[in-house]
C-alpha cells in the first residue's frame, strides 16, 4: 500500500495527514478559478426564501389596474352624462358579437363577411370593432350574414380626429393595408405616433373609438397634409368582431 508506506516516512507524516485540508484548498482554488460558480449558486440556493418576491410587484400592478379601471368607468359615466346633456348620442349602442366567416383583405375589395345579420339586429351602416379598435362599417345585410367594408377599402371614408392636436381629418382607404388620413387644413401639426380616434362630431360612427396610429406625415401634399395610418386592429387575423348596432338595447325594448 503506497499510502501506508509514505506515512511511515517521518517528515512526510504531517503532510500526508493533512490531506483533507489539501482537498479544501483544491476546492477553494477551483472556486476561485471558476469565478465563484459554485459559491454563488450555493448562496443563491440558500438565500432563496429571502429574495424580494414577485408578490409585491403583483400587488402594486393590481392596485394600479384597479385604480385605472375605476377611473375609466368614472370617465365613461361622465362622458355619457355630458353627451346626453349635449344631446349628441341618444342611445348607447348595443353590441352584437359575430364570427368572421369570409375575409378578403387583399383583393380589389377589402371586405369581411360576418356570420350574423339582420336577424341579430345588424343594420347597414353599423360600426364594426375588433380587439384594437374600429375596422369598418357594415355595407349590406342579409338575414344571417353581414358584409363589412373595411377601413382599408378604397370606397371607405370615415371622419377621424387626432386627439393630441384636436384636428379633424378624413380617413380614406386606398386599397393597401394602411389607409390615408387627409386633413382639412394645411398645417395640422401632427407627427408620427399620434393616436387617431373616430371623430367626436361624426354621425356615422360612435365617437372616440380608437382607429390607429399615424405612421408617416406628408407635409408637402396638396391640397392639404396627408398622413398614413397604421390601423390598431389586426384586420388580417381577426376572427370575432363586435358590431355596434345603432338601436341600443334600451331603445329596442321601448
Amino acid at each position: 500500500m503506497p499510502f501506508g508506506r509514505l506515512s511511515r516516512v517521518p517528515w512526510l507524516r504531517p503532510v500526508v495527514g493533512a490531506w483533507p485540508w489539501a482537498l479544501v484548498a483544491a476546492v477553494l482554488v477551483a472556486v476561485r478559478l471558476s469565478k465563484g460558480a459554485l459559491l454563488s449558486d450555493a448562496y443563491a440556493l440558500l438565500s432563496r426564501p429571502f429574495w424580494p418576491g414577485s408578490a409585491q410587484k403583483e400587488w402594486l400592478q393590481a392596485a394600479q389596474q384597479l385604480d385605472q379601471q375605476t377611473r375609466l368607468g368614472q370617465l365613461e359615466l361622465d362622458n355619457r352624462r355630458l353627451r346626453r346633456l349635449l344631446d349628441l348620442q341618444r342611445a348607447s349602442p348595443g353590441k352584437v358579437t359575430a364570427p368572421v366567416i369570409s375575409r378578403e383583405p387583399g383583393d380589389w375589395w377589402h371586405q369581411l363577411v360576418l356570420g350574423a345579420g339582420g336577424l341579430q339586429g345588424i343594420r347597414a351602416g353599423d360600426s364594426v370593432i375588433a380587439p384594437g379598435g374600429l375596422i369598418g362599417r357594415v355595407a349590406s345585410v342579409t338575414p344571417s350574414t353581414a358584409r363589412v367594408a373595411l377601413l382599408t377599402d378604397s370606397a371607405s371614408k370615415v371622419g377621424v380626429w387626432v386627439g393630441r392636436t384636436q384636428r379633424h381629418g378624413l380617413l380614406t382607404g386606398v386599397g393597401s393595408s394602411r389607409p390615408v388620413l387627409r386633413f382639412l387644413e394645411k398645417d395640422p401639426q401632427v407627427r408620427p405616433g399620434d393616436v387617431v380616434v373616430t371623430s367626436p362630431a361624426s354621425t356615422l360612427v360612435p365617437p372616440g373609438l380608437s382607429v390607429g396610429v399615424i405612421q408617416s406625415v406628408d407635409d408637402k401634399a396638396v391640397p392639404a397634409t396627408l398622413a398614413v395610418v397604421q390601423l390598431s386592429a389586426p384586420v388580417a387575423s381577426v376572427d370575432w368582431v363586435q358590431v355596434l348596432t345603432r338601436q341600443g338595447p334600451a331603445a329596442a325594448g321601448s
Partner: protein, 170 residues
C-alpha cells in the same frame, strides 16, 4: 362541341368560383392576393364549349361575383368578353392545349378583368390614385398567381371537358 352546358354536373361546377372566392382562409394567395378564380374556370369552359356558351357563362359568373362584392363595380362585361373571345379561339388557330398558351391567355384575361375593376372603382379619383403602389401591387400579384395556376388547373379541366364533348359527339 357545344354540349358541356347540357351536363348539370359541369354547370354546377361553376359554383366553385364564388365558394373559392369567399373561402377563409383563402387558398393559394400571393402576398394576400387571391387568384382570379373566375378566369381559371371560364378559360377551359369557353375553350371547350364555344363563344356563345362562354359569353353566357361569363355573364352568369359576373352576376354571381358582383353580388358577393362591395360597391357597384361589375365584372360582367369583362367576363362576357373574355368568354366570347376564348370561345372563338379554337376554331381558328392551332391547338390551344399547350400550357404556355393557357398561362398566357389567363394572364391576359386576369389583366383585363383587374383593369376593368380598377377603372370602375377608381374612376372618380383621377390618374394619380389609379397608379398607386397598392393598386399596381394587387393587379400584378393577381395576374401572376392566376397565370401560374392556369396551366395546372385549366389544362386538367380542359382535358376532362374535351374528353366528354368528344365522347358525346362520337
Amino acid at each position: 362541341m357545344a354540349s358541356l352546358h347540357r351536363r348539370p354536373l359541369f354547370v354546377v361546377s361553376a359554383l366553385a368560383v364564388p365558394l373559392l372566392t369567399l373561402a377563409a382562409p383563402g387558398l393559394l394567395r400571393i402576398g394576400g392576393v387571391p387568384p382570379s378564380w373566375a378566369v381559371l374556370w371560364l378559360l377551359p369552359w369557353a375553350l371547350a364549349d364555344g363563344p356563345l356558351s362562354g359569353a353566357l357563362a361569363g355573364l352568369a359568373l359576373g352576376l354571381l361575383l358582383d353580388s358577393l362584392h362591395l360597391g357597384g363595380a361589375t365584372q360582367m362585361p369583362a367576363l362576357a368578353l373574355l368568354g366570347w373571345w376564348w370561345g372563338r379561339l379554337p376554331r381558328r388557330g392551332p391547338p390551344i392545349e399547350r400550357s404556355f398558351s393557357l398561362g398566357l391567355l389567363a394572364m391576359l384575361g386576369s389583366t383585363l378583368l383587374g383593369l376593368s375593376v380598377l377603372l370602375q372603382r377608381q374612376a372618380g379619383a383621377g390618374w394619380a390614385v389609379l397608379l398607386t403602389a397598392a393598386n399596381l401591387y394587387t393587379l400584378l400579384a393577381q395576374v401572376l398567381v392566376t397565370a401560374l395556376l392556369a396551366p395546372m388547373i385549366c389544362s386538367l379541366l380542359l382535358l376532362l371537358w374535351r374528353r366528354h364533348s368528344a365522347s358525346a359527339r362520337g
